[in-house]
Symmetry: C2
Subunit: 262 residues, 2 copies
């Protein structure tokens, strides 16, 4: 299905190294994990709530979201995932999936068995800590989302979501206009913020008319980064990223066009 020759796990390693430091051995052990690659079409499920998982899943390209459904069928998106993210890692220790994971844009993923992951963690405690740390960051993000849907109005919620995705795509804190990859429809933004797509639409229109942002099919341009953070009541602390301004990386967010190319 896919070329598994050269280690394609570098996006995962890069992401882990944002918050953890590895020796060469440890890095190599991670890159040497046995992976089964697969390409997944938009809106397909990677996991469904209630399933028993035996693999976790690395997002090598594209984007994905986690969600749950209520009895009445409305959807709540719980997290958005980008290239390099580890999905379903927690299911190594709690095998029954408590939520579903669905691809947003077309994605390439690598499956690693829980067994293999736990084994490498056992052999290298630093790696176990790094993985644990990732799940803790996920929990921190989830808590911030509780605040977002619980205590902010529509405008704030959407601005906050924009800020989060911008920062996670490596946007610098400089006030320069920048364009980020935007994998979500307005309906999905609604599902992530606890709003309806209609209200999302109206709120985004307001933000556009104020010159805060402009939108394209698969991208959003932020015209005033400081203002957007202010509107969204956003502070990056909860992401537990190392430097205030992405110190080790000087380049801007990858162009939106490239990220969903093919």
């Amino acid at each position: 299905m896919f070329d598994s020759r050269h280690s394609s796990l570098t996006p995962m390693l890069d992401k882990l190294q944002l918050r953890s430091t590895f020796s060469d051995d440890e890095s190599q052990a991670l890159l040497d994990l046995a992976v089964r690659f697969e390409r997944i079409e938009p809106s397909k499920y990677i996991v469904r709530e209630g399933e028993v998982m035996e693999n976790c899943c690395i997002l090598l390209s594209g984007s994905a979201s986690r969600h749950k459904l209520t009895r009445k069928g409305s959807r709540q998106i719980l997290a958005v995932h980008l290239r390099g993210d580890l999905l379903g890692l927690g299911n190594a220790l709690l095998p029954i999936a408590d939520h579903s994971i669905q691809v947003l844009s077309r994605a390439e993923v690598g499956y690693i068995t829980h067994e293999a992951i736990l084994e490498v963690g056992l052999a290298y405690p630093i790696i176990a800590c790094a993985l644990w740390r990732e799940t803790l960051v996920e929990a921190s993000v989830a808590r911030e989302w509780i605040v977002n849907v619980g205590r902010r109005d529509a405008r704030e919620r959407i601005a906050h979501l924009l800020c989060e995705l911008a920062v996670r795509q490596g946007m610098d804190s400089a006030a320069t206009p920048d364009t980020i990859f935007w994998p979500m429809t307005q309906e999905q933004v609604g599902d992530a913020t606890g709003l309806t797509s209609v209200h999302v639409n109206r709120t985004i229109q307001t933000m556009r008319s104020e010159g805060l942002i402009s939108t394209d099919r698969q991208s959003v341009t932020i015209h005033d980064w400081a203002a957007l953070q202010d509107v969204g009541d956003f502070s990056r602390g909860y992401l537990h990223l190392p430097k205030p301004a992405g110190g080790e990386m000087r380049f801007k967010a990858p162009g939106a066009a490239q990220m969903h190319a093919q």
Copy 2:
């Protein structure tokens, strides 16, 4: 099962053993952790957002909540903790607290240094896994809370919160009326559900007038457990508790009431 020599950490061990299994050595290692005990008065803080933590904290009696504040000063409660819960464990790997922890009722806590916790985890991988698993359950609960505030109305939100606390206090799935410890004021319920105390009050009044529940200063009596679960769209799966029925009891009603499986 394991009989400790009178360590005060048994509430923690009991809670961990809901989801993990330990050898005698491992249990003993946990009970032997060096602890500093402290009594904390209602509404006092255990941690404040932004602080650097060096200890984690076991709730030996009483209850506590985690919260964050928005710019405008409104509060969102992120979790409620009961006797036996481990607080701030994640700060062992992410030392800067991303939220505050505050005592609800008077509480007794035991502080354990992160160093000691990580050490015992290193010595006993089963323990490390058990601790990791606890943080994963916390994350699962946080995700369910996102759904609660994002996609349920006031009545559903409050019923769901009631169900969660009932189950976590070991209430059986039998439909018998039962009374649970209720450590929160209506204002705090509002902060947990993203509502105002006024609206919480009105909603609870409705639930009372329907005979669903009745309330006392520090307790709630649930008159129709099945109905309450239904109102709250509640399924216990997200708590990742072992048995279909509450604690590790054998007295579970041969439940035809378990229709709520997804």
